[in-house]
């Protein structure tokens, strides 16, 4: 029996191993999401009893969508999702525009102090948000705002307090700078020779060929904003502006003990809520994943 494999056989074996490993990883990564979605269909006691076996991933037993109805009764989920979408999309939209323009100026224009400014921006990355949360709170609680009610002071309980402090982001600027530097500078020189101004070069030359970095920045910033918890806990006191992650707290409490079957966390409702608030994140990733993967794959490759 000939044990030496032909090239074709080797290739087939390699492929099988590769796909086997990838499938295994896919299953491992999918486990938490499957657990969450399956559990959202089960009563809390069944979730707890199934959690120590593979039954946790199987939609069997007392299956229903009751948890979703109960979750909507427990918390104004529609409002929370709306608020988070508003805050995330506006911050993301304005952030992509402003951070990319800043990065364009830092990467492609020549001006005095350029490197110092870039260094300072990058240096701010080492500051955790928690260290500036209190000073920022003191500032925003006194800032003026011109709205429909005229000039008012203090931004607490508003959308702007959740948006404006997070539009400018050092990491996004850094990402854009790295990407813009990798683009051939001849493109900009050619546009300059053709008489284009800096904004026109940015908008019509650079942006159209920078899809991957925009997608990456959008996903990273979008996730960060969607997952905001500490800051809204500090500055939002009204249900009206509360985002989804603070809303999670509505489900993090023991249910009343005098009703049969209660006295434990409402795990089923919690999983239903998590499933609902995970959907926008999955949609965002699916919409941008090709560009995101491309960006990751080409990181560090000079043009």
């Amino acid at each position: 029996m000939n044990l030496i494999l032909s090239i074709k056989q080797k290739r087939a074996l390699f492929l099988a191993l590769r796909y086997g490993l990838m499938s295994l990883l896919a299953v491992i990564f999918a486990f938490p999401i499957v657990f969450m979605m399956v559990s959202s269909l089960k009563p809390s006691l069944q979730i707890l009893r199934d959690s120590s076996s593979l039954m946790a991933f199987v939609p069997m037993g007392d299956i229903s969508i009751d948890n979703y109805f109960k979750a909507f009764e427990r918390a104004p989920i529609g409002l929370f999702v709306y608020n988070s979408l508003m805050v995330t999309l506006v911050t993301m939209g304005l952030g992509l525009f402003i951070n990319s323009m800043a990065a364009f100026a830092l990467a492609n224009m020549r001006w005095k102090g350029q490197q110092v400014v870039l260094s300072v921006i990058i240096a701010t990355l080492i500051l955790p948000f928690e260290t500036i949360a209190i000073p920022l709170l003191m500032v925003v609680s006194r800032l003026p705002w011109l709205g429909p009610e005229g000039l008012t002071y203090g931004w607490l309980n508003s959308y702007q307090v959740q948006i404006i402090p997070f539009i400018v982001d050092a990491f996004s600027i850094f990402l854009f700078v790295q990407f813009f530097k990798s683009l051939p500078y001849e493109l900009i020189e050619a546009a300059r020779i053709d008489g284009a101004g800096w904004f026109r070069i940015y908008a019509q030359v650079i942006v159209p060929i920078s899809g991957p970095v925009f997608a990456t920045a959008a996903i990273l910033r979008g996730l960060f904003m969607w997952n905001q918890y500490l800051w809204p806990s500090m500055v939002i006191q009204s249900t009206q502006y509360r985002p989804v992650m603070v809303g999670l707290g509505y489900f993090w409490q023991l249910t009343s003990s005098n009703t049969a079957g209660e006295g434990i966390l409402p795990w089923g409702e919690l999983m239903a809520y998590l499933t609902i608030i995970t959907i926008p994140v999955i949609v965002l990733f699916l919409a941008l994943q090709r560009a995101f993967v491309e960006s990751i794959a080409t990181t560090g490759i000079k043009g």
Binding site: G154, F214, A215, V246, L248, S257, T259, G263, I264, L288
Partner: protein, 470 residues
């Protein structure tokens, strides 16, 4: 492909702008079911817009998501608003898990409401920090309350609770009978030897991997609330209550070390599962028969009674030499120091202190009413009712966690020390380190005002004696 991505991003940005444009607060949509459930809030709290109308009193409350409890609160507010025309209370609810952060942030921003609710052990810190104002409520109104439902700091009352919670040892009668273990009573609880012997007997039976579910899956406040009464029963404490300026001797003296060694033995002898206990086991392990005993609060009583019926025993805490003790001090209501309407806010709290409201809270939450008369009228704690025993335990054994501003920091240190000991750390070193950390915090905060002008209750003449005297 690149232009497609750009189109998506541009679309998102435009959508975001449109959302902003449409996002005026008044038009923010809510899910239909939510709108229906939120309706009572508006009905109860919306004040008519008239310049000469009643003064608005803002109130913050920690129970967002707990609809039954909130409905009772809204009912009280409605009653109060209709009972007079000087004030109009408006409530804003917060999720409990982020409530303290919200209050502290609001205090820093100078944005506190008139009325707040506060967790009992946190109150002294907020009073010391200047977030809360003392309550001017006649003593005779307070006298009928369980002592641990009255929040005191520096000799003044700052908060009043309408309910209390209590811990007990859950067990099965059939199991204790089978192994010849005496059923303890409030008058004669298990002592240390008896309790240890019971656990040894149950462990030796081979029926249980772990005998006692202590709730190690729970973190945070459960440690000082659930476990510091054992330390106090040994004669130690988290902080020395005679001065409130040190943990030395209280947390690392001979009694505390004896407690620490007992605590560690629970784990080394395999009586209690470690700090990695599965939270599913905490919730259902006892009723499923995985554990013979469970240390838990009154909130677990409903499920246990439903599953075990007459076989369920709700036993008092053991007495390790210095009295049988359980934790005390639940959520209470107080007035913020920022309030421009302190008399009105105080009046509302006085209005809440009616038996009928305590009964309503108790009936929907399963918590213990704060007065004997309310307990007698409640469905769970009246004489002969299924959980009457919890009221008796609370009245006889409840011990406040140290009522000092240092508690908030000391509680975290205590939790770490107990978790370390459970995981095998040297008992004396762990307790010494904890005492040093607590002392350092007290020193850094200039003794939290305990310079002789502040009076705190002492554990030696604590509220248990007063309750027993009644």
């Amino acid at each position: 492909m690149k232009s497609k991505v750009w189109n998506i991003l541009a679309g998102l940005a435009i959508f975001a702008m449109l959302l902003t444009a449409c996002g005026a607060p008044a038009t923010a949509p809510a899910a239909p079911i939510t709108a229906a459930t939120e309706a009572p809030v508006d009905a109860a709290t919306e004040a008519p817009v008239v310049s000469t109308g009643p003064t608005k009193l803002s109130m913050w409350y920690h129970g967002a998501g707990n609809k039954t409890e909130k409905d009772v609160l809204l009912g009280i507010i409605k009653d109060y608003n209709e009972s007079q025309d000087m004030y109009m209370v408006e409530v804003q609810d917060f999720p409990q898990i982020s409530y303290n952060e919200s209050v502290v942030a609001a205090a820093l921003a100078g944005n506190l409401p008139d009325i707040i609710d506060v967790d009992g052990p946190v109150m002294p810190n907020w009073a010391w920090a200047g977030y809360m104002a003392p309550l001017d409520i006649p003593q005779d109104k307070l006298d009928t309350f369980l002592p641990t439902t009255i929040g005191k700091w520096n000799g003044k009352v700052y908060s009043v609770g309408l309910w209390e919670a209590a811990c007990a040892m859950y067990a099965r009668k059939s199991v204790l009978d089978k192994y010849g273990i005496r059923i303890p009573t409030l008058e004669q609880p298990w002592d240390l030897e008896e309790f240890n012997a019971a656990m040894e007997t149950l462990k030796a039976s081979g029926e249980y991997e772990y005998v006692l579910d202590m709730g190690m899956a729970w973190k945070g406040e459960w440690y000082p609330y659930g476990f510091s009464p054992f330390l106090q029963s040994f004669g130690g404490d988290i902080i020395d209550r005679s001065t409130f300026t040190t943990a030395e001797g209280a947390l690392n003296g001979p009694e505390a070390i004896a407690f620490g060694e007992w605590w560690q033995n629970l784990f080394t002898k395999g009586y209690v599962s470690g700090t990695t206990q599965d939270s599913a086991d905490r919730d259902t392990g006892f009723i499923d028969g995985k554990y013979a005993l469970q240390w838990n609060g009154n909130w677990a009583g409903g499920l246990a009674a439903e599953k075990l019926g007459d076989d369920l025993l709700i036993l008092p805490a053991p007495n390790f030499g210095n009295g049988a003790r359980i934790g005390a001090g639940s959520w209470q209501f107080g007035v913020s120091a920022n309030s421009k309407n302190i008399p009105g806010a105080t009046e509302f709290i006085e209005f809440m202190m009616q038996d009928k409201y305590m009964v309503q809270f108790s009936d929907v939450t399963g918590n213990i009413p704060a007065t004997t008369t309310a307990a007698a009228a409640s469905k769970n704690f009246a004489p002969g009712a299924p959980f009457e025993i919890f009221f008796n335990y609370s009245a006889a054994q409840a011990t406040l966690r140290p009522p000092t501003p240092a508690y908030m920091s000391a509680a975290l240190t205590f939790e770490k020390a107990l978790a370390d000991i459970a995981n095998g750390a040297d008992v004396i070193t762990a307790l010494d380190t904890a005492a040093d950390e607590i002392n350092a915090d007290i020193k850094a905060n200039k003794d939290y005002g305990f310079d002789g002008s502040v009076v705190g209750p002492s554990i030696k003449e604590d509220e248990i004696a007063k309750a027993n005297a009644r």
